[in-house]
Symmetry: C2
Subunit: 339 residues, 2 copies
DNA sequence: GCCCGTTGTCGAAGCGCTTCGACGCTCATC
DNA sequence: GATGAGCGTCGAAGCGCTTCGACAACGGGC
C-alpha cells in the first residue's frame, strides 16, 4: 500500500517496544506477554509489515529457501515431474520455506553456487541416476540434501522413491491372480536403461523376479515412444509370443500408443490382452479402456522428501533410504479373469 | 572445500586490498587496475569465495532472483508448462538471476509476500486468464512483472504470448491451400473456455475468422480429454458433417485420442481427413502419422518474458503486448492435396 | 524479610555486503 | 610550476534483521 517498505524498526516504534521484542514476537523464540504480543501483531497488520528476506537470512544464517534441482533429460516423464515440482513447493510452504528452481544442466556448479552463496539451506534433487556425478558433491556439502531416486551407493545420503521393484512385482502378481501365464513388460526407451536410471531398472527387476516366483513366462522389452515404433514392438511381441495375454506398460508417453496398436491388431483389452500400467492416474483414467495402474505418487514422494529435508535442517538424522509402497488401482483393462 | 564459508573480508586480506576494492572488482562498478583485479580474482579462486546472497541482497537492495508463478489448474497443458519453467530458469541464469518457484494456489498473497519481503526483484506469471484476479495487484506492485498470456485489459502490464489467433488462422489457411472446404477445430475442454482462458479463445477466433475469410465451412468445438469423450466428439462430427476433410486440434492431451478415434472409424489420415495440430513438436513427431503442427514456442516465449523483465528491472519501459509469430511445420498428416 | 529463579523487555553487537565520499596519485594543460 | 581532471583505492556508514547478555519486576519458599 504505502510506497515505501516497512521495516521492523517502524513496527517497533509504532507498537512502542524495542526492535528485538518485535523480532521475538514474530519468531516465538522468547516468552512475550500476551498484551505486548497483541500490540506488536496489530502494528504489523496496520503497517503491512513483511520481514526483509535478505536481512533475515544474513542475520539468522537461514535463507528459508530450499533448492529443487530439476532433471532435464531425454526420456523423462514430464507430467510427473511437474507434479513433483508443485508438490515440493506446496510442501515447502508448509514449513515456511520457499523453493528455488535449478536445472540439472547447470550440473554440480549450480548446486555448489546455490549452496555456497547461502541462497538455499538445503536441496532436493530429482531423477537421480545410478551413477550420478553430483552425488560426491552432495556428500561433501555442508547443506543437507534429499534425493528423489536411488543412486547405486546411498551411503551418507537420504533417498526417497516409490518402490519400483515392488510396483513391477505387483503388476505381475495382479496378472497372475487373473490367470495370465505369459506376460511382457514394455518399459522405458532403451536409452534410459543404458543411462542407468534406477527406476526403470528396478521395475524390470521386480517384474522379472515376480515372473519367476509365480512360474510365469515373461519378457521385458524397452519401448520407444513414437507410435510407429510402439506398434512395431507390439506387433513383434504378439507374433513371437502367441500365448501372451498380459502386458505391463511402464512408459507414460507410450501407453496410449500401446492401446492404439492393440486396437489396430484386433486385440481387445481386456478380453484378449490385459494391460497394467505404471503411470499417473489421469493418464490411466483417460485411456480406453481405463487402465488398471500403479500410480506414481508424486505428491507423496515430494512431501516425504521435503519432510526429510526439514528434519535434516533441524539437525536430526534421516534414514538413507525411504521406499514408498506402491498401490494399485484396478480398472477395466484387467477386468476379465481367465480360467 | 574448507568447512568455513569464505567472506569478502578474507578475500580482501588475502589479496592485500580493501573490502570495497574486492567488491568493485566483482561488480565492475568502478575502474580497477589490471594488476589489482588479477590479484583479487586469484584470491577469489584460491579461497573459493562465493558472495553471500543475503548480504548482497540486503546491501544492494537487489536479490537477483525473479519469481516464476506456475499455474495449477485443470485443463492445463503440462509438458508445455515444464518447458516454460526450465526455459525461464535458463534465460534468467543468463542474466545472472535465479528463479523462485511459486504456485498459483497461493494466489495474490504469495505474490505480495515474495515481493514485499524482497525475496524477488520481479515476477513472471504463467497462464494468465482474461480476468485474472492477480492483475490489479501486479499493477500496484513496485516490482516489475511480465505475464505470459494476455488478460482482457493489458493497460500498464507487459504481456507475452504466442499469437494464437494467427496460429488458428494459419492452420485454416494451410488446409484451405490443400483444397479442404469443410473444416473443424477441436479445442480445449469446455471448462477452459468458460474460465476465460485467453489462448483457447483466441485460437478459436483466429480459426473462425480465417474460415470466413477463405469462404470455408467450419465449426469449432471444445474437446474433452478421455478417449471415450474424444471418440464421441469425433464420431458426432463425422456423422453431422460428412463433407468434413480438415481437422485442427488444439489440445495436447487429446490429439492422440483424436487420431485413434479416426483410425477406429476407418478414416485414414491424411487421405480421408487432414489433421493440423497446435502442440509441442515432440507430440507431433511421435504421432502416427506425424502431424503437421504449429508448435508452442515455449522456449522463445520464456526467453522473451525474461528479457522484458530484465529490461524493466533496469528501468526501461517494455511494450504492453508482445505476440510471437507462429510457425508451422508440415508433416505427413496434411500431405495430400485435394483437387 | 531475604534470596533466588522466572518472566518479559531492552540495547547493542554483529551478519557480509554495497556504496558514498575522500584522497593521493599521475598527466596533460596553460 | 601551478592547476585540475581523471584514475584507483580506501574507510566507514549503513542495509534490516537476529540474538546474546543484562536487568528490572515479581512471586514463592524458607
Amino acid at each position: 500500500m504505502s510506497g515505501r517498505t516497512v521495516t521492523i524498526t517502524e513496527v517497533a516504534r509504532h507498537a512502542g517496544v524495542a526492535v528485538s521484542t518485535v523480532s521475538y514476537v514474530l519468531s516465538g523464540k522468547r516468552a512475550i506477554s500476551a498484551d505486548t504480543r497483541r500490540r506488536v501483531l496489530d502494528s504489523v497488520r496496520v503497517l503491512g509489515y513483511h520481514p526483509n528476506a535478505g536481512a533475515r537470512a544474513l542475520a539468522s544464517r537461514r535463507a528459508n529457501v530450499i533448492a529443487l534441482v530439476l532433471p532435464l533429460r531425454a526420456g523423462m516423464h514430464v507430467p510427473v515431474l511437474m507434479q513433483f515440482a508443485t508438490s515440493v513447493v506446496t510442501a515447502a510452504r508448509q514449513y515456511d520455506h520457499d523453493v528455488l528452481l535449478l536445472t540439472a544442466d547447470e550440473g554440480s556448479d549450480g548446486i555448489r553456487r546455490a549452496a555456497a552463496s547461502a541462497l538455499v539451506d538445503g536441496l532436493v534433487l530429482m531423477d537421480v541416476e545410478l551413477h550420478d556425478p553430483r552425488v560426491p558433491l552432495l556428500r561433501r556439502l555442508a547443506e543437507p540434501s534429499v534425493l528423489i531416486g536411488f543412486p547405486a551407493d546411498t551411503t551418507g545420503l537420504t533417498c526417497v522413491d516409490l518402490d519400483f521393484a515392488r510396483a513391477g512385482a505387483l503388476c505381475v502378481e495382479h496378472l497372475a491372480e487373473r490367470g495370465h501365464r505369459e506376460v511382457a513388460l514394455l518399459g522405458a526407451p532403451a536409452v534410459v536403461y543404458e543411462r542407468g536410471t534406477g527406476f526403470a531398472r528396478r521395475t524390470r527387476e521386480g517384474f522379472t523376479e515376480a515372473v519367476a516366483r509365480h512360474g510365469l513366462t515373461g519378457v521385458a522389452l524397452p519401448c520407444e515412444e513414437t507410435f510407429e515404433q510402439v506398434a512395431a514392438t507390439v506387433e513383434g511381441l504378439l507374433a513371437e509370443r502367441p500365448g501372451l495375454t498380459g502386458l505391463v506398460v511402464h512408459n507414460e508417453a507410450a501407453v496410449n500408443h500401446v492401446l492404439g496398436a492393440l486396437r489396430q491388431h484386433g486385440r481387445r483389452v481386456p478380453h484378449d490382452v490385459a494391460v497394467v500400467a505404471i503411470c499417473p492416474d489421469d493418464i490411466a483414467e483417460r485411456s480406453s479402456p481405463a487402465l488398471t495402474s500403479v500410480l506414481i505418487p508424486a505428491e507423496e514422494v515430494a512431501r516425504q522428501a521435503v519432510r526429510l529435508l526439514m528434519d535434516k535442517l533441524e539437525g536430526h538424522t534421516a534414514p538413507e533410504g525411504t521406499l514408498l509402497e506402491p498401490r494399485m488401482t484396478v480398472r477395466d483393462s484387467t477386468s476379465v479373469v481367465r480360467s
